[in-house]
Subunit: 448 residues, 2 copies
């Protein structure tokens, strides 16, 4: 299908800047042209399904760089408890009964709500099973994703099998919609030998299934809570004198294809290492606040020149994969805690959610901005709403005023996946019914 999005305000987040009364031309999975509406109309007078974007703002699809897609099934199951009680009494006892079918259904639900809130790429860390999994769910609904398998020291053999299977079956599949990652859970659940081995596994899988243009990345939780060094000591008897990144650096596992989620408890040396090794950061402010983990020093990371992207974390700790909300919370939070309104502006935050999100996933050659030759991941937002009136500055509105429900139409990989808020690829009511059934089964098992 060929599309022509006409007469919108294009916020390209790339070299084309902002094009007012602009148009974008889509052929197959690709953006083949963009420019002033008059010019495009003249150049492409016939053909193409024309999408009217008058009074609308057209942006690259948002990128969520940290999620556990399956866990949408646990949204609202338990909140506001102390962390250990929350995990040990609530989340883990239910989660351990999650079947591969639950994982698939949870990921379907996350895919639907992500698209409906303008997100076109989700990086998800969860348990991989061959038959039913998050990659299957995302590809069926047409959401772009990086699907990881999370690894723990206590199940090395199982992990290695899962990683090989995941990479072989899914990396670069579904017309390039799906990529995969190797996901050590965290420095306190993956021992140093296994950590090194998982780096080697990632490199080997890249040789077999990846390429420099299409890499299998490494996705890990780092420095989420204040007591992480103590947890490492308890788990492996290792006493860290310096920060967690110094430790990971000493294992020689860091590099530009490493995405570190959270990065809340960092010292200056950690920040220098992140920059030096070009490690990518996924900032998850909503989850970090809700779980009372703390506040990541994002202004320092930005000052150091690190690549910072945005994640929502799972529906257990957020409870919605809404990158518009995450953009606003990010822009607000660091101003407030630093008592300085200039620590980051709206445009920087929008970069985190688009082009810097793409860089975080090593996918910036194909996504993250509206540019000729990139994949057509495009979101059209209706600005003709009272809460977006009057209009002085579209970028201010995108970060501070737009709500996820203002997202009207979404293209992913050139495919129209949502039109005027109707998902075109799946029956949403059926997905919701399935999710409710999974919830009922899980509650029955735990006797609640």
């Amino acid at each position: 299908m060929e599309f022509l999005i006409e007469n919108g305000t294009i916020i390209s987040m790339g070299k084309n800047g902002i094009i007012r009364q602009g148009s974008v031309v889509i052929e197959r999975d690709e953006i083949v042209d963009l420019g002033k509406a008059d010019y495009i109309k003249h150049k492409y007078p016939r053909g193409y399904e024309r999408i009217d974007a008058k009074n609308k703002v057209v942006i690259p699809g948002l990128i969520n760089t940290h999620h556990h897609a399956a866990m949408s099934l646990l949204r609202g199951y338990a909140d506001d408890y102390p962390l250990q009680e929350w995990l040990e009494k609530w989340i883990w006892p239910l989660e351990k009964h999650m079947s591969k079918h639950d994982i698939y259904v949870g990921a379907l639900l996350t895919a639907v709500e992500s698209i409906m809130s303008g997100t076109t790429t989700v990086n998800s860390m969860y348990h991989y099973f061959p038959e039913e999994n998050e990659a299957k769910a995302f590809s069926e609904i047409g959401l772009r994703g990086v699907i990881g398998h999370v690894c723990f020291s206590w199940r090395k053999d199982e992990d290695k099998k899962a990683l090989e299977d995941l990479a072989r079956n899914w990396h670069g599949q579904a017309n390039g919609l799906i990529r995969v990652s190797v996901d050590p859970h965290a420095p306190y659940t993956v021992d140093p030998d296994y950590m090194v081995e998982l780096k080697q596994i990632k490199d080997e899988l890249n040789m077999k299934y990846g390429s420099s243009e299409n890499p299998i990345i490494w996705h890990i939780h780092v420095a989420e809570t204040k007591d992480e060094k103590e947890k490492i000591r308890q788990a492996f008897g290792i006493n860290l004198k310096n920060g967690i990144f110094s430790y990971l650096n000493s294992l020689n596992v860091l590099g530009k294809d490493v995405l570190a989620a959270h990065c809340v408890w960092l010292n200056d040396e950690d920040i220098a290492i992140i920059k030096e090794r070009n490690v990518k950061v996924s900032h998850n402010p909503v989850s970090n606040l809700k779980l009372a983990s703390g506040i990541s020093p994002i202004p320092k990371l930005l000052k150091a020149g690190a690549t910072v992207s945005l994640g929502t974390d799972s529906a257990c700790s957020n409870n919605s994969p809404d990158i518009f909300e995450t953009m606003k919370v990010t822009a607000l939070l660091h101003k407030g805690v630093n008592l300085d309104p200039t620590v980051m502006n709206a445009e920087q935050v929008l970069r985190m959610a688009t082009i810097d999100g793409a860089k975080a996933l090593c996918w910036e050659k194909e996504i993250g901005s509206i540019e000729k030759g990139k994949k057509a991941d495009i979101v059209i937002i209706d600005f003709n709403k009272p809460h977006l009136c009057p209009i002085y500055n579209e970028i201010s509105h995108l970060v501070y005023s737009v709500k996820s429900a203002d997202v009207e139409t979404v293209f992913i990989n050139g495919k129209l996946v949502m039109e005027k808020r109707t998902i075109k690829t799946v029956n949403v009511k059926e997905v919701m019914k399935k999710a409710e059934k999974c919830r009922e089964r899980l509650l029955r098992i735990v006797g609640k």
Copy 2:
């Protein structure tokens, strides 16, 4: 008109608790009955316009206790600047040209977006003019409000005239929809003599136009920024040894009809005075973060037993009067900065936005909960959405997952003001056109 809202989950926030498969009966402006759907159906078999609330959640209308409604016209005009530059180079130069027509139009816009996001009462502090004003705008659209006139030392005569006119013309008017308030701007812009005089004026206006059931309240900004004591010293040569509330208490102006907005920089003595004098707090976390004012010690205020309500502040510093968003930010922020997820739970936050908001405005006899005999300010929320699936706990969803666009139908004072997201009382497109015209005129004047 008489309405029967049927078969919903009623979160009453009052003595009825949560009623599943419940119904609410509305006659004139009042809630005349509520209970299980079967019982209500049997008791009221005929008549009434029936509103189906199956799969929906019915809550008392949300209450926004601090706003400057007219300033929605400046939404997105300037963000991310240092506070003084923002005020002196951007906001004030534009704001001084705001005409009474602009104020009226800005308040129309705020009224529309408030209703569309489930807010049924807004407390607004702005400049009052007799012919066109916020009270006129709110009453035309059917939004309940407390309308104040903001007072400064430099315009005492003008203020006193405005206050008398506002109280005489509007207090208790529009079928009881509108109440008024006396609004000293802040302790650094209102000298101590005028502060005392404004308390007397409030008491006198209450004798003439108010009653204990229907009081004219006092609405003031207090302790918003760290340098407030220094500003008081510079303005009036007063050196405060203790906190701002100690100062106000020494003037004998505090009491249960005082609503203090912001309350960011408080010491323990301030908190004790707030509790002792039963001063009401309006917490504005989004604005406090965006302007980098700081973070109010809400957990300490709650622990002391103070009444804490929620406000959005104006669209200049927020940029949307969305109390759902403010609830989530409130629930998140204090967990994160205190590294403690138990400092407040979802239900406490929902109280702040409903019944405690009503208490903050001394209006709890009539609004803030769904109870027999109270005014029918009721919001129906569609829970049949992917991002609200599955459902374990409605109150968790209301605080952490519901988006303002999920609000479907709104009653205020028994009147159906929004039905299935269509505002019934005004042509919304016309309001938006008017707001754009005001923006164009203001930009022309300042030459931008």
